[in-house]
Every structure is written in C-alpha cells, then in structure tokens.
Symmetry: C2
Subunit: 253 residues, 2 copies
Amino acid sequence: MAADRTQQRPAGAARRRLRADQARQLADLLRQQVLGQVFAGGVLPHEDALGAEYGVSRNTVRQALDLLRAEHLVERVPGLGTVAVGQKYPHGLDRLMGLAETLHGHGQVSNEVRALGPVRAPAAVASRLRIKEHDDVLYIERLRRLDGLPLSLDLTYIPMDLGIGLLDADLENNDVFRLLEQVAGRPLGTAEITLEAVSADLHSATVLEAPRGAALLMLERLTHLSDGRPVDLEFVRFRGDRITMRGLLHRSS
Amino acid sequence: MAADRTQQRPAGAARRRLRADQARQLADLLRQQVLGQVFAGGVLPHEDALGAEYGVSRNTVRQALDLLRAEHLVERVPGLGTVAVGQKYPHGLDRLMGLAETLHGHGQVSNEVRALGPVRAPAAVASRLRIKEHDDVLYIERLRRLDGLPLSLDLTYIPMDLGIGLLDADLENNDVFRLLEQVAGRPLGTAEITLEAVSADLHSATVLEAPRGAALLMLERLTHLSDGRPVDLEFVRFRGDRITMRGLLHRSS
C-alpha cells in the first residue's frame, strides 16, 4: 500500500520497517471504520479479504489488527473473527456544550460529586476568573460517567457569588453549564479551550478505572457568560478510549 | 485546597486519597502556568511558598511537582529548585491551517518525506475523497519536525489529479495545504476534524522519538477545497508532550 522508499536499507530491516509502516497505514483506515461502526454486525472482513482490498500481506493485516487490539477497539472472537468492541463518543467542538448536552442520545450522563465547597482562590485561579486573590471560589470535583462507565474527571472553579447558587443544586444529574445559566440568569457566551494528550498518573487512572499511563484527552476550558465575564474554569481529564472531539474548521477566519 | 468529603473513610486511606486529589488539583494550576511560561526565569516558587499560596502541605506540593515531572514539564535542578523545561506549541483550532502556518513564529517546521507515490485507493479512502474505488491516490508520509525535534507523523491521501502536481514540489519545506491551493488554483474551504488521545505503539513511538506508550494527540482531518470537493484525507499523530490545540467555542451555533 505505501510507496516504498526503503530500497537503500538492508533487506530484513527494510521489510520490517515497511511492514510496520503499512500496518499503521491500514490500522488508521480500519480504526476510522471501526469507530464509524460501518462493519455489518461489528465483524471485520477476514484477514485475506483485508489483505486483498488493501494490497498488503496477511502478516501486515495481522500487525494492523494488533494495533487496534492494543487500543481496545477490536477483539478476536473464536469462530467469528475480529469484531469491533470499542466505542468512542463524539464531543462537539463546534459549539460550547456541557457533557450531557453533547452526548444527548448516546447515553445517560451521571456525575459523582467527589468534592464540593468553597476554597480560597489561588492567584492562578483568581486572575483567570477576574476575582480578588484569596477570595473564595466554589470548587467542584466530579467523576462523570456515561451509562455507568467513567468518562471524565472534572475539576471546576466558579466565583462564589454564582457558586453559592450551585451548592444545593442537583449536580449529580445536571451539567454545570445549565445550572450556571439558571443561576446567572443569562446564557453562556464563549470559552477558550486547550486540548492536550497526556498519560494518566496512577491516581487519576485509578479514579477513571483506566490503566496507569493510559492516554487521556485533557481539556482546560475558561467559560464566559454572554456579557464576557469569566465564570467557570475547568480542568477535565477524558478517558482517551471513550471520547473523540469533532469539529469543522474553516480556512478563512 | 480541596473541600474534604472523605470523613467517612479510614483516616490513612482518606489522607492519601485527599493528598492525591489535592496534588492533582495543584498540578493542574501549575501546569497551566508552566505552559504559559509565567514563572520568571522558568523557576517555580519554592515548595514552602507554593504550599502557603495553595494552602496545602509540603508533601502535597512535592506530589504535585512529581506529576509535572512525570509529564516532563518540570525538572529539579540542584541549587536552583524546580524549573520549567517542557514547551508545548499551540496549534490553532479556530482556523484551518497547515502546521508551518500555525506554528509561524514558534520555530522552523521541516518535513522528512518517508513515502511518496501513487497507491490504489482502498474503499475507505475512495469514499471519503469521492473518487472511484481502486483509482490511484497520492500517498504521502511525512515525519514533521519543529526546530529539528519530531512533532508529528502525517499520513496523507490526495486525489491523483491534484497529487500529480505535488510529486515534484518541495514537500520538505512546505505545508501540503499551501501546495494544494497552488495546484488547485483555489483556496481550501473547510475541514472535518476528529481529535483523540491514543497511546503510541512501539513503531510510531520509535519514529517520533517518544517513549513507547507515550500519549499522542491523533488528528483525522478531511479537507475540502472552497468549492466543497474533498481533496486531502490525513491521519496525524502529534507527540502529546509537544503540542496543544487551542480554540474559542461559542455557545450559540
């Protein structure tokens, strides 16, 4: 499948490198189809059929399927073949939405509130939320689940004048976004986001029921009300095996 | 710093859990400042100062700094303290841009072309690019570096009528986006993107000079010309320790 530019290398090493490159290439095309749930019954075509379709050897097909297995996207089922098992949920990148909003139709979001209460705002929080250093902010820590399985661990800071209205709210079953809009009496406006891929430390992995070192999608988000006031500073660790971020980019700004 | 809801637990376990939670909380605030390069000379405040500022014990501060060290964002330098060493480069999420464009001013992007040539389009590629199955597409595989250090591994498929114009182009020093616009004689329009966090397989890690299992930011991007024609299907693995994606989201669509 890949064009071969490795003629200068020793035959064995070149073959191994070429096969590894081709396996990655094939795995990327298959993972897209696995996540898009295009295979009938979730069963992937036979290795020989994949080899013929993609013009690669059976060993390359096996190596590609190994890559997807390592990502827990497929499994081998005796008598059936390779089946899609992983499912990632699409989190919209085009509009500012809470988790329950964006996953509407994909399952039930529930939140385990691990911490809730006022804390003295450190300088780094105060400056982002434009409050006075050492004023209180409401700190909320939630483990968020989709259909019972951990999806993300969210650390949230909210100015206390709004946060006070959230203390008695049903945080288990509502997005903070929706509650904030109710308490503030106006809609949210924009949010500055930063996305990174990080490896899970031991404790975060334990909380998220993921293996230590698992890839996490880390989101930092500073959300403003429609009048521009920053009201919600969040640090969210999504399990990489359970979420994708989807959006549409435009060439002209 | 965190509100303590752990009173029901055994004292030792509760203390460890509380400290781990507080360390994560502190690490998130510090990592934001490390990446924002706000510390004078890159040197973080002394552990005691951090403990006082954030209202946590010295052990918690140390545990937080351990988390940042594990991410290769800080190092301990004898006689100096903890210094910021990691740098992540911001990739814009607001506009569709090539890597050299978006990192303009952050360093020199160079591309090692690992593969270049026509391949028979598998069905999964043909349908996305709206070409006939088994028609040729141009396959380009590039290891992209910023100031000499690996940043991403890009697998790209381009319809052959446009791809033919890229075969003799200077792919080492130019974004494919810019070359495509030249060849097509019209600007790009929009791109559908999907972002995920994945763990690096051994071979990808080797190519990217990252540890096996390192967190990668995986981008799948289908880019269209301004007339709507899909012309560029890409699978990009960014090193998670070298890139962040930044954007602005709006509440109303």
